[in-house]
């Protein structure tokens, strides 16, 4: 099919009767097949096979204030996202009570720290508060939200404002100026 046909169906040269040249019925397909493969290559490369996925983010309504029971600081882990893919967290104490600030790197270490703290409090009561600082990147934030999905932690909140206490704490303990 894709081979080049050389020579038609012509007769011998010279001598004898002169016969009309018989045209070959086989068409040279090589260029067409070449083009076909070229197009295949192009379309394979140009199609996006993996469609992006999306995660849903719900944020609280700012216009409504709902009266809710205050959460005990002893059940709360507050995570501050710092620079260089580091997370600083305080656990069990409010920022004004001089808590210990621990620093972990994102990924496995962070997930382990969260799971340890979940185990300490006991599943249902645990609350994680995520506070990205201006040094952190969008990737860090998405990674933490994704980790929440991996750990299946339902009670977490994304808060974009740091309290003065927390700012002072981060400045003192981890030299992060915000």
């Amino acid at each position: 099919m894709a081979e080049i046909n050389t020579g038609g169906g012509g007769g011998k040269k010279g001598g004898g009767k002169v016969r009309s040249k018989k045209a070959s019925t086989r068409v040279d397909m090589t260029p067409m097949v070449d083009l076909g493969f070229l197009l295949i290559t192009f379309f394979i490369l140009a199609t996006t096979l993996s469609k992006p996925s999306s995660m849903t983010l719900n944020v609280p309504d700012k216009t409504k204030t709902e009266e809710t029971e205050p959460i005990k600081a002893s059940n709360v882990m507050t995570v501050f996202l710092g620079k260089d893919n580091q997370a600083h967290y305080i656990f069990g104490k409010a920022a004004s009570e001089d808590p210990e600030v621990k620093t972990v790197s994102m990924g496995y270490d962070f997930r382990k720290a969260v799971m340890d703290n979940v185990a300490k409090v006991g599943g249902e009561k645990f609350v994680l508060v995520l506070k990205p600082t201006k040094e952190s990147t969008y990737k860090n934030m998405v990674d933490v939200l994704d980790d929440m999905a991996v750990i299946k932690l339902k009670r977490y909140a994304l808060v974009d404002e740091l309290t003065p206490d927390e700012k002072a704490l981060l400045k003192d303990k981890v030299k992060l100026i915000i």
Partner: protein, 194 residues
Amino acid sequence: MTAMCDVAFLLLTFFILTAQFRSQDAATIETPSSISSIKVPDKDIMIISLDKTGKVYFGIDGQPTRIAMLENIASAKGISFTDKEKKEFSLLSNFGMPIAQLRSFLNLSNEQKGKLKQPGIPTDTTGAGPTNELKEWVYNARKANNNLRIALKGDNLAKFPGFKNVLATLQAQNINKFNLITGTEAPPAGWKAD
């Protein structure tokens, strides 16, 4: 040989029919990945992109919707666009131009458009200030198509304040549910969705 060519052309037909062309975007954005398995819808979607320098780009799907949105914003701002400019605008999958510079941008040739570094759509920290143009686009896009779903597409290296400004803009309009577009990654071994 014949069989192989048949298969090859069958594949070719398949790829041609299923191909969806990547439209030219105003900026390249590398999204972080997540284990989420919700796919991004193709229709009725508004995508707010945030590139690594914190610039904001805006895009919605559907050419008629884009024109309707532009007309809404033009009448709100007291400017008018020619039919040619509207047509040009409807071809942009996303853009990051302030409204004041939009007209001159639309009159550029395609080549110049590609070369130009778009300054991004102005936002602010409160989400409702007079300089915030993103809120106008979001509002007028939703006016043009009521069913728009809102998706946010941020770059890995984008700093958090840029995201916070976009979030503030959306929250100021009482949009409290949206999607973050991410790449797909496999969940850890043994992980099962609830």
